[in-house]
């Protein structure tokens, strides 16, 4: 892929450079708050990127994506509570459980289309939410405190803010790179073909269902990784992570940044979470502004921020 000098690419390059240099800024100015805020943003950007793989490239509008955040988080939290603190066990388990969950609900959900698909993915996420609420051994409704972050045999110390931030950033860039490779592979092209015209892809011999399901599972697994990171970041996991409004927020990040743009979800996550942070400093009732803002964005900024920048370029 050749790098073209245009508004959206410049924005992405500047944002990525800023993210890499952020801990330096934080160390120089002593502003720890910005580092914790951006650790959260980077984690949510990873989750939103995985949703973008599904929505933007696969055309699958999942309204239950936050379920994987919770599943990845609970995998880490439950293993930690049972005395297994090694990340080399916790994280693969988190990924495997997320993949398994995605395989099960994907194989059922993908039999439906359109609004029915939106609703059935929502229903499965709600089921996961209620199961987590009923886990009385692991905190139930109140959630589960994680007393010790995942350990990696001295390889990396997750309790160190800067190291943890760079780990999250590496996961994000790794995830986006993976998605980029997927999207441009034969597999990814088939998935995008199915999004445009499923019948035609079927007719020329591609088993559309299996391709979509594979894409669904990959996206769920990446989001499971984000869940494991999030649990380590907050030292806590609760059913609220999986609540349907959280899935809605992930969708907002994707659309806000620009669905179907590789770095759209990152931009969307930054704008959404920074805006939330700024508005909540300014007023307790931040949603009073955020809500109508969302309506305006949907009405007037189709294609999200990246889409807008693309339009500027074209004049």
């Amino acid at each position: 892929m050749k790098f073209k000098l245009n508004a959206s690419n410049v924005l992405v390059a500047v944002v990525c450079a800023a993210l890499v240099l952020l801990p330096v800024y934080s160390a120089v100015t002593g502003n720890i708050f910005i580092l914790t805020l951006f650790t959260r943003i980077v984690i949510f950007a990873l989750a939103a990127s995985s949703l973008n793989l599904m929505m933007g490239y696969g055309g699958m509008m999942s309204f239950g994506h936050a379920a994987y955040l919770g599943i990845g988080g609970y995998a880490v939290g439950i293993l930690a509570a049972e005395g297994i603190g090694s990340g080399f066990i916790q994280w693969p388990v988190a990924l495997a459980v997320s993949a398994l969950f995605a395989l099960v609900i994907g194989s059922l959900s993908l039999r439906t289309r359109g609004v029915y698909f939106i609703m059935i993915t929502l229903a499965f996420a709600q089921m996961a939410y209620y199961v987590a609420s009923a886990l009385s051994r692991y905190g139930g409704d109140d959630g589960l405190t994680i007393y010790k972050r995942s350990t990696f045999d001295g390889l990396i110390n997750l309790s160190d803010r800067t190291q943890f931030y760079y780990l999250c950033l590496a996961c994000l860039f790794g995830g986006v790179y993976l998605i980029w490779r997927i999207v441009n592979s034969r597999f990814g092209l088939v998935v995008q073909g199915v999004r445009s015209n499923e019948q035609r892809m079927q007719a020329i011999g591609f088993p559309a269902y299996r391709y979509r399901l594979t894409c669904f599972v990959i996206a769920g697994t990446i989001c499971g990784l984000a869940g494991a990171l999030l649990a380590n970041n907050t030292d806590f996991v609760s059913p609220a992570v999986m609540y349907w409004t959280r899935s809605g927020e992930l969708m907002v990040m994707v659309i806000l940044g620009g669905m179907g743009w590789l770095f759209g979800p990152l931009i969307g996550a930054i704008v959404f979470l920074v805006l939330e942070e700024l508005l909540s400093q300014f007023t307790e009732y931040w949603a009073l502004i955020m809500g109508p803002l969302l309506v305006l964005i949907v009405l007037f900024a189709r294609g999200g921020i990246m889409g807008l920048l693309g339009r500027v370029r074209r004049g």
């Binding site: 509008m61 939106i118 609703m119 059935i120 009923a134 051994r137 949603a287 955020m290 109508p292 803002l293």
Partner: protein, 305 residues
């Protein structure tokens, strides 16, 4: 036995209440092809309006009527300001915009009424139990919910099937463009249908208010239930919504009432007490997943466009 009758009635009452909510949702969806997540917010506003107006007027009935009118007006205003620009857009856009409206309404309620919940006390004539059968008593208020909801359902059926406006609604539902081409004022019709849906949601909210606390976010869980119902019933079908709502109301209520005891007979005590609440909360979603897998169009799909 008495317990079973009581729980059956509770289930029926809950189901009818869900029907009021689902009817508005399915009308709006079937006719305008519009996914309205903010429907739950209208339900919440109905409850808050009722709590306020009953407090002001001192009369439950008068307050309820005022609250109903207020929700109707709010619905029409909402349609006029924001939602009518979203018809014909992608479902995803509609989901996002109305998600934004949920955020807005929740914080607006917090700003106006404060974060603590409100209580809506019942007048004494509605609190006395009524004897249904010899030895079977049932709260008068819940009984009146059943009666009102059945009346509204019958009225809705009459309006949609037997009046001119209902004919237009059905025409709009089966083919929007054609109805518009024949000279029907589609914009006005849509606003009217949306207002009707809002009023039904408000009615559900204000009737539920005395049973539960009036609080922020009360519309969210029940909105998801209403969506489950219209998906089970078949999107756009009022008859389907009615049957599915009663079905879901009964399953949910009976599941919560009897599942723990049933499980305790099969499983050990500890396992049952963990599994029962999860399973009874999940029952409806499980049902929906099964229905969607077996009949992806819902049980009673509306006529094809």
């Amino acid at each position: 036995m008495f317990l079973l009758i009581e729980q059956l009635l509770n289930g029926l009452q809950f189901g009818l209440l869900l029907f009021l909510l689902a009817a508005g949702l399915t009308l709006v969806f079937g006719i305008m092809d519009f996914v309205n997540l903010a429907h739950g917010s209208l339900y919440m506003m109905g409850a808050y309006f009722a709590a306020t107006f009953v407090g002001w007027t001192g009369s439950f009935v008068l307050g309820a009527i005022l609250a109903l009118a207020a929700t109707l007006l709010l619905g029409i205003a909402l349609e006029f300001v924001a939602l009518r620009h979203l018809y014909g857009r992608d479902h995803l856009d509609q989901v996002l915009a109305t998600f934004g409206l949920i955020l807005f309404f929740n914080d607006m309620v917090r700003l106006i009424w404060g974060p603590a919940g409100l209580a809506l006390p019942l007048p004494t004539w509605l609190t006395t139990p009524v004897q249904l059968l010899p030895g079977v008593y049932y709260p008068a208020y819940r009984l009146s919910i059943i009666i009102v909801a059945l009346l509204v359902a019958a009225l809705l059926y009459l309006v949609v099937m037997r009046t001119r406006i209902g004919m237009l609604i059905r025409a709009g539902a089966s083919n929007r463009e054609m109805a518009g081409a024949l000279g029907i004022n589609i914009k006005l019709l849509f606003t009217l249908v949306f207002g009707l849906g809002a009023a039904l949601a408000g009615l559900a909210g204000l009737m539920q208010a005395p049973i539960l606390t009036v609080q922020i976010g009360m519309g969210e869980n029940i909105l998801i239930l209403a969506f489950v119902i219209i998906v089970i019933g078949g999107i756009g079908s009022i008859r389907g919504a009615f049957l599915a709502a009663i079905f879901v109301g009964l399953i949910d209520t009976l599941g919560r009432a009897f599942l723990p005891d049933l499980l305790r007979k099969v499983l050990s005590g500890a396992a049952a007490s963990t599994a029962a609440p999860a399973l009874s909360s999940m029952l409806i979603y499980l049902l929906m997943a099964i229905v969607l897998v077996v009949r992806p169009e819902g049980l009673f799909p509306a006529a094809k466009r």
